[in-house]
């Protein structure tokens, strides 16, 4: 027990020292920023001071304004993501599992992929108006591709020898899909999912800044009208935190779902 603890403690100390070391530069930047604001070098209308931003953060939370808008944004992201991931998964299964399915699905998706999906915003507004639909549709559209591409590659990359072993041990088509193809393609799917989540925030930033009456993007845009750089910075921080948190979430998911992988077994 103690034998095992001693190197662990050393490890933890080293880890702590390492992360403390990494924090030095950001803290210095914050300090410099605060000094620049306090001395008037950087005026409030250009960029609010760190302390001011923290105060605004607190006020927005106390008012409930931040949470309300955050929830709206989260909901848009999740709904769009759910739709995009579902379609991406279905398309990947169709084209990954059959040659005729590939012929039917892959070409149109590749053509669509050549168009930057954010360029479709004007069309979406014409089609769906300015309610929730165009925002969710934009997220959905942006997240289909990463899921489709990765899962498709994952399915096609399954070791043929394992498929053969499965057939050899009497698995039917459905069992091969369930016991070999899907678990084998899961790592690629999760890679696609991670990209998709990143893209969902990106699409939301664009969609909420064009026309919205709620959401983090709306909070930022209305702050611009009043030159409230403090609120804009709060919005940016929230976007950053969201990206960070979802990344951690998916990494945790990967660690659990892919516990069998040699890289995870070692780590």
């Amino acid at each position: 027990m103690t034998d095992a603890l001693i190197p662990n403690q050393g490890n933890m100390l080293r880890k702590f020292a390492h992360s403390a070391g990494r924090a030095v530069t950001p803290i210095l930047i914050l300090v410099a920023w605060q000094i620049a604001s306090a001395t008037g070098l950087v005026p409030e209308r250009t960029l609010a001071s760190p302390l001011h931003v923290i105060g605004t953060f607190w006020t927005l939370i106390a008012d409930g304004e931040l949470q309300d808008n955050l929830l709206v944004s989260l909901r848009r992201a999740m709904e769009g993501l759910a739709i995009g991931v579902s379609f991406g998964t279905v398309f990947a299964l169709i084209s990954g599992l059959s040659r005729s399915g590939e012929a039917a699905v892959d070409a149109p998706l590749q053509i669509l992929r050549a168009i930057p999906f954010l360029a479709l915003v004007p069309l979406f507004i014409l089609w769906f108006g300015i309610g929730e639909t165009p925002k969710i549709a934009l997220v959905a559209l942006g997240t289909i591709y990463p899921v489709y591409l990765n899962l498709y590659a994952g399915i096609r990359g399954i070791d043929k020898k394992l498929l053969e072993a499965g057939a050899c041990f009497g698995l039917n088509h459905w069992q091969i899909l369930r016991h070999i193809v899907l678990p084998g393609a899961l790592p690629s799917f999760l890679v696609g999912l991670r990209y998709a989540v990143g893209i969902s925030w990106l699409s939301l930033v664009v969609a909420e800044q064009i026309n919205a009456s709620s959401g983090i993007g709306y909070l930022i845009m209305s702050a611009r009208d009043f030159m409230r750089t403090d609120i804009i910075v709060v919005g940016l921080i929230v976007y950053g935190l969201l990206g960070l948190l979802t990344d951690i979430l998916i990494r945790t998911l990967e660690h659990r779902a892919l516990a069998w992988r040699p890289s995870i077994l070692k780590g």
Binding site: E164, G166, A167, L171, Q175, R261, P262, L265
Partner: protein, 270 residues
């Protein structure tokens, strides 16, 4: 492909021909395997051993010739081919139907000495352990015909010896018919009732090994049989001179027009 009820012979192959484009790998191959018989199939690399085994496994369709097989077959490949995302015991129960699959898997893993690694991930197993899991996965199906394609080729010498002992013991207990593809002459001599050499798409040499199990390299006639098989494989080893070869250790070179017959072996020296 027809299946027959349990009666000798278990496997009957007549005139099996297999081509890959212009490359004829098997040409009119004939073979019988008796129920419970352990047959080793030797041959140079590329002689078509795997092709033949895949046909018996049902992985390749029979396009020319006739093959009669028991329905219940199991294969161990050269690589373990375990599903990395399934724990050891789940790999063994893969595709298994019937009650208490896990219990049966545990019993099979116990037989190969791995009941302490039931919940391990395949990536954490050594080569020998992984191959033993593959063996358990085949055994748990209680196959009437066990097909082994160079299952020990990738293992180190020590592990291989232990695997030989394990396979011999398991075969003695369960008595499936076995076709072991190998390029290791010693392996064939230690395990098989009959060693065959595949050459030019047919069984060209047949050697009966009647020594009782368990066998050791020190057994009578070992080096003679070894030299015979090696020479059939194109490697010349001088056997000890002046020692008369016992009739049952002489490899039988089957001429093109004759078929090797398990029932009436015509033994001739090479």
């Amino acid at each position: 492909m027809k299946t027959n009820p349990r009666s000798a012979p278990d496997v009957s192959v007549r005139g099996l021909t297999r081509r890959f484009g212009a490359n004829t790998v098997l040409r009119g191959l004939d073979l019988d395997i008796e129920s419970g018989e352990f047959v080793a199939l030797l041959g140079r690399s590329g002689s078509g051993k795997t092709t033949f085994l895949r046909t018996l496994a049902g992985l390749d369709a029979v396009t020319q010739g006739e093959v009669r097989l028991p329905a219940n077959r199991a294969v161990v490949f050269q690589e373990p081919r375990l599903m990395p995302w399934k724990k050891v015991w789940q790999n063994v129960t893969l595709g298994l139907t019937g009650a208490d699959a896990r219990g049966r898997a545990v019993a099979a893993l116990k037989e190969v000495g791995l009941d302490h690694r039931l919940d391990a991930w395949p990536a954490t197993l050594s080569g020998g352990e992984a191959q033993r899991v593959a063996l358990a996965r085949a055994l748990v199906r209680e196959p009437q015909l066990l097909l082994l394609d160079e299952p020990f080729a990738a293992l180190d010498a020590l592990t291989r010896i232990r695997m030989h002992e394990l396979v011999a013991a398991l075969w003695t207990v369960h008595k499936p018919s076995v076709l072991l593809v190998t390029h290791d002459v010693d392996e064939a001599l230690l395990l098989a009732d009959r060693a065959l050499v595949l050459e030019d798409g047919r069984i060209r040499t047949e050697l009966k090994i009647t020594q009782p199990h368990p066998r050791a390299r020190a057994m009578i006639g070992f080096s003679l049989m070894r030299a015979d098989l090696l020479s059939a494989l194109g490697v010349d080893v001088d056997g000890p001179a002046g020692i008369a070869k016992p009739a049952d250790t002489v490899a039988c070179r089957v001429p093109d027009d004759a078929k090797p017959r398990r029932t009436a072996p015509v033994l001739r020296s090479v």
